[in-house]
């Protein structure tokens, strides 16, 4: 493990730990392939048999309105929710046929789940490393690195239940990073995170992508996705409306305008006339 010191390089090097010679795979080889993925709850179709190709080394944004099926899709791609139909491959490994092998390559930040919050931050990150069967020295070393980089050093000895929403998000991100996954799947990683921490997280992720890692994030913030991501998929009502590089999807418009065009539903005027002081 190498830790480079410098103004911009306070980043833990994580991507070359699992390094294998094939990391230098041809650009565009898929890190995640989704085919015909579908899920319904009761009589409501949440995800309607979608296809996605996430190229290795891409920073992939998944955007869509509330209830579009982003979380359901990501849950099915990470083994948290069994799909009704379709398959997901992570670097060629079928998530639902060989879950153990696929999950060692995945780092997951799930949205809307609890943490084991009666542990301290340090204990929680250590716990997640040990659950993956990593050796204790590496776990200890990386835990301290992660706490430092995510600005949680002081909070490391506090119970997670006493954390703010943003700190909780960051410690959950640390549990997803500890094993240096080849693919990071992050559901709403910037929600409730303060701007400074968000910038830190962004540079960690950008750096990680620069070293050959793949990141998928879901977000509502179009501006952020446009600046940060290389690729984007727009999901609405369980269908992929558009997918490709950010420039392909947005064309000459801003991503936000393009998104509203695709998804529809912008209302102007006729709003809350009475809402004034």
């Amino acid at each position: 493990m190498t830790t480079v010191n410098g103004p911009d390089c306070y980043i833990v090097d994580m991507s070359n730990l699992n390094a294998d010679p094939t990391t230098a795979r041809p650009a565009g080889a898929p890190a995640i392939v989704v085919r015909g993925l579908g899920k319904h709850f009761a009589d409501k179709v949440a995800v309607n048999g979608i296809d996605l190709d996430v190229p290795a080394g891409s920073f992939y944004g998944l955007v869509g309105p509330n209830g579009a099926g982003k979380t359901t899709t990501l849950s099915m791609a990470t083994g948290l929710l069994r799909p009704d139909a379709g398959s997901v491959w992570v670097h060629g490994v079928d998530v639902w046929r060989e879950p153990l092998k696929a999950k060692t390559m995945l780092g997951v930040l799930a949205d809307g789940v609890r943490l084991f919050d009666r542990l301290t931050g340090r204990q929680l990150v250590t716990y997640s490393g040990r659950l993956r069967g990593m050796d204790p020295e590496t776990v200890a070393e990386r835990t301290e690195d992660l706490l430092r980089v995510l600005d949680l050093e002081d909070a490391g000895s506090k119970l997670v239940v006493d954390y703010s929403a943003g700190m909780t998000k960051k410690i959950a991100l640390a549990t997803a990073l500890i094993h240096s996954p080849r693919v990071l799947v992050l559901d709403e990683p910037f929600e409730a995170v303060d701007p400074v921490s968000a910038a830190n997280i962004r540079s960690i992720l950008t750096d990680y992508v620069g070293r050959g890692g793949t990141v998928i994030v879901s977000s509502h913030v179009m501006d952020l996705v446009q600046r940060m991501c290389t690729h984007v998929a727009v999901i609405a009502a369980g269908n992929v409306m558009a997918a490709g590089t950010v420039d392909e999807v947005r064309g000459s418009e801003s991503l936000e305008d393009r998104f509203v065009d695709l998804v529809g539903g912008r209302s102007d005027g006729g709003g809350l006339q009475w809402l004034r002081s």
Partner: protein, 523 residues
């Protein structure tokens, strides 16, 4: 507003059934049980109506007093306050105090315990049917009495909640609830002291109770029947005063808690190092054991789940001191072992969606099972062994230690094994992390009771060899059978635990996403 709150409660109840059919099953079972109880008691009261008025009065005053006392104590200690309409949810709405109090109070009748109490109290009129005015009084007094029960339960649980909302304090409070339980011993002993003597005393007890909040409502029809208008009038005033004071006190506590909403956290101390994670090997199962053990100490839900366990020896010791043979206390150790071992069957339900970490890190099922069983075993073994070793020494029969230890070890290991399988398959609605451990989700009681009864039954069946050997030892008094019990307890228990961890582990491996889905729905 009052009607709105009642509709809201009914709607919430109906919606919770749509989320999980199991909750519906739980509520139906509870309602069926309540209905059965109500019908039997009403038949009893009809029969009682043909007896002497003095007897009717004594029986009803004592019975109603017991029910009222139950409403005051049971929600605090065991079942928890009904959590469907949490007053804290109303803190952002400008609901007038009077209407919120009345509304929340009346919603208590939407639900099995409240409804059954109301029906039973009103049905007491059947026992007073010899006089029209008395029966009419019984209907009114019964309804007021039922309302008093609900108000009292609200008051005691709100007071307890206010006391226990600070996490550190809550941990202490969990221990404090042991104390009233200790008093159960003397009460049980007193009952055994002589049933006949109790019957002579009962009319006098009823006379006293009839002036206390417990029995005042039940005593009113008797006054009407006897034509003692002055006494009856005084009693009525007293009854209304009790009701008013309880409702007022609850309303004050309620408003105070709404105006100063308590944050369910803060002021806890963390730890610098790895805590209990460092006590176990740095492997997946070791980490799970360390984490589970941390939760046994830090999460009050675990303590609340086994609240009676440390008391069993004392209760049984007291009970056995009332009987000629001292052996009743011997039952404590194996009972404790089964209860503690079995308590891990709620583990995944307690994890709630935090279980997702086990899913995404691809924990093997056997490691999950083994870690949880190890944590519980580490905690339970010293406790149950002390309960198995100390009583025979105190009684002066050290030879019994071997047999009792064998049965206890067998019970602990078998219960852990059975629970490891059960919790890999079934989750139930439990109190969510960080909530008051004495709350209960609707319909959870009956389902939890059913699952637990079934698995406890299985654990008991699996213990038959050890039990048979221990009985043989006590009958023949030959040490050989005691040693056999120890050997069989260790061997059979170990085999059952291993099988339980293996089978439960395999179930987890194949059903992890489904378990995840189940805990998400229980949320």
């Amino acid at each position: 507003m009052v009607a709105q709150l009642i509709r809201l409660k009914a709607r919430l109840l109906a919606n919770s059934f749509r989320r999980s059919p199991w909750q519906l099953v739980g509520v139906i079972l509870g309602a069926a049980y309540g209905l059965f109880l109500a019908v039997m008691l009403i038949i009893g009261m009809v029969g009682l109506g043909s007896q002497e008025p003095e007897l009717v009065r004594t029986v009803l005053v004592c019975a109603v007093s017991a029910v009222v006392l139950g409403w005051a104590i049971v929600p605090v200690l065991f079942s928890g306050a009904d959590a469907t309409l949490d007053p804290a949810r109303f803190s952002t709405f400008p609901v007038p105090r009077r209407e919120l109090t009345a509304g929340l109070l009346l919603t208590g009748f939407i639900g099995t315990p409240g409804a059954v109490t109301l029906v039973l109290f009103v049905a007491a009129a059947a026992a007073w049917r010899q006089s029209g005015p008395a029966a009419l009084t019984a209907v009114v007094a019964g309804a007021l009495g039922a309302l008093f029960c609900l108000a009292l339960a609200r008051l005691t649980t709100t007071a307890a909640l206010a006391l226990t909302s600070k996490r550190r304090f809550r941990e202490v409070a969990t221990v404090l609830v042991f104390i009233p339980l200790v008093a159960l011993g003397p009460i049980l002993g007193g009952l055994q002291a002589g049933i006949s003597a109790v019957f002579d005393v009962l009319p006098h007890v009823a006379d006293v109770l009839a002036w206390t909040p417990l029995g005042v409502f039940a005593a009113l029809p008797g006054d009407v029947l006897a034509g003692e208008w002055a006494t009856g009038g005084a009693r009525l005033l007293l009854a209304l005063a009790y009701l008013a004071v309880v409702v007022w006190a609850w309303s004050v506590l309620l408003m105070r808690s709404l105006q100063n909403p308590v944050q369910a956290s803060g002021g806890s101390k963390g730890s610098l190092g790895l805590g209990m994670l460092a006590w176990f090997p740095a492997t997946p199962w070791g980490a799970i054991a360390g984490r589970s053990l941390t939760y046994w100490f830090k999460d009050p839900r675990y303590a609340a789940g086994i609240v009676v366990v440390p008391l069993l020896p004392f209760i049984l010791w007291y009970a056995s001191s009332q009987t000629p043979t001292p052996y009743m206390v011997y039952a404590a150790a194996p009972l404790m072992a089964v209860m503690m071992g079995f308590s891990i069957s709620a583990d995944i339900s307690y994890d709630s969606t935090a279980f997702s970490l086990h899913v995404t890190t691809a924990v093997r099922g056997v490691h999950d099972r083994a870690g949880r069983a190890l944590a519980c075993g580490v905690l339970a073994l010293p406790l149950v062994m002390a309960a198995a070793i100390v009583p025979p020494l105190v009684i002066g029969r050290p030879g019994d230690v071997v047999a009792l230890a064998g049965l206890t070890v067998g019970a602990l290991l078998s219960a852990l094994g059975v629970a490891s399988v059960a919790s890999a398959r079934w989750t139930y609605a439990v109190v969510q992390p960080g909530e008051n451990p004495f709350k209960s989700p609707p319909g959870a009681g009956a389902r939890a009771a059913l699952t637990q009864l079934a698995t406890m039954g299985v654990a008991f069946l699996l213990l038959i060899p050890e039990i048979a050997l221990v009985i043989t030892y006590f009958v023949t008094d030959r040490a050989l059978f005691a040693w056999l019990a120890l050997a069989v307890g260790l061997a059979a228990g170990s085999v059952l635990l291993t099988v339980g961890i293996r089978v439960g582990g395999r179930w987890i491996d194949t059903r992890m996403p489904e378990l995840m889905q189940a805990v998400t729905l229980n949320k």
